[in-house]
Assembly symmetry: C2
């Protein structure tokens, strides 16, 4: 192991079986560390204990980071790396640095010339893309849809138009309690022939990935409420 570097350590998407989604050597890198910058200390500890029931949590230092954490504070969290210790960065779910405050740690690490290494783990974006059948050579992820219905519909229609024009696959999501509104708008507003992929409960019990035309979805829509879900609009390959 090199010294004084930062590992980006993916965690499960909420599933209980670490071996389903985290490679063995990533687990062993994680449990060799004693310094962690995490989105949530409690869930980080739970993850480490899931890998290794004997993991010495009390010998570790956990720094919590959220969207409000000051830059000066984060610089302080990086100090152990400057002293030769390796640091792990963990998000609440999935891959750190993609949809969480982890990216700013990477930015600071690059500024301070600290070596970074991202490790392999589950990403609902990538799993949806793989399972959708859509164009993977040209795709776009837009995060959460706008909250206002009017803006949400405009966003969807822009995705649809771009898919027809350029063949780009568009992935997006929303908070689980708004999933049914998103579904309703997709089915009401998009053209019959537009292809939609809906991936819910990825890597979890009840996982379901289906790609159908808007027309077919209207007859086979299912309950997405409270289920973590990724949506995609794309072109049939």
């Amino acid at each position: 192991m090199e010294k004084g570097m930062i590992y980006m350590i993916p965690v499960t998407l909420g599933g209980e079986v670490v071996n389903d989604v985290i490679p063995a050597n990533v687990q062993s890198i994680a449990t060799d560390l004693r310094y962690f910058i995490v989105e949530n200390v409690k869930s980080a500890r739970r993850f480490l204990r899931k890998i290794d029931r004997e993991f010495p949590i009390d010998d570790c230092q956990f720094f919590e980071i959220n969207r409000k954490t000051e830059a000066s504070e984060i610089y302080r969290y990086l100090k152990p790396a400057k002293e030769g210790h390796n640091i792990g960065v963990m998000s609440d779910a999935g891959c750190p640095g993609v949809a969480d405050p982890g990216a700013i740690i990477m930015t600071m690490a690059h500024e301070k010339n600290i070596k970074v290494q991202p490790l392999v783990g589950p990403s609902s974006i990538l799993l949806t893309l793989m399972g959708s059948g859509f164009n993977g050579q040209n795709f776009s992820f837009s995060g959460y849809l706008p909250k206002e219905r009017k803006d949400r519909i405009r966003a969807m229609k822009n995705f649809e138009a771009d898919t027809y024009r350029n063949g780009t696959t568009h992935l997006f999501m929303d908070t689980p309690f708004r999933n049914m509104n998103v579904l309703e708008d997709l089915l009401n507003e998009l053209a019959d022939t537009t292809m939609i992929c809906i991936a819910s409960n990825l890597t979890l019990v009840g996982e379901n990935i289906r790609t159908m035309s808007a027309k077919d979805w209207r007859e086979h829509a299912y309950d997405l409420a409270k289920k973590p879900t990724m949506f995609a609009i794309g072109k049939k390959q």
Copy 2:
């Protein structure tokens, strides 16, 4: 294990240690299968033997698929699923269905109501995004850059403009023998303050991920020739 479904099975990015990048349970799903649709039979066999030296390759059926494979042929490859057998789809490197002919298999599976399950493995797109420090809530992958220098430069400048305008992270790549041309154009054509991430040899010996301004890259450029490399233009977080 359910019956008659299709697993999207990631393989290494060229590295020799499967446990670095493929979760244990994904390996065990792969070696339980006897039907495979693959980009390259030889590399698929090598991968399965790397997981399990005793893997009974002679009991398996491998169907090779490339960009020229006829749709009717692919439908035939899916027949075992209709007969209750599970099928694995494997690409030459990384995650199937993202930058290979695998997507069309997913499309056909959805049409024929065959269940699909994408599994976790290494993706240079996602690893670059994680390590870049760039915006992961809004990103775009554009595959290979245009071959013509003029078109390539226009594409880069469009990425740069969109990053400044919308904060979007733009990821792209090229064939390894053109990497140095890409680097040259990036450093000549982009503004001093534009942030560029270069990730080469991901998950391999000599892995290197660095994010710097175009200005700093001009002083610290290194040899990318023949190294598998992902480029990104993005906004500092």
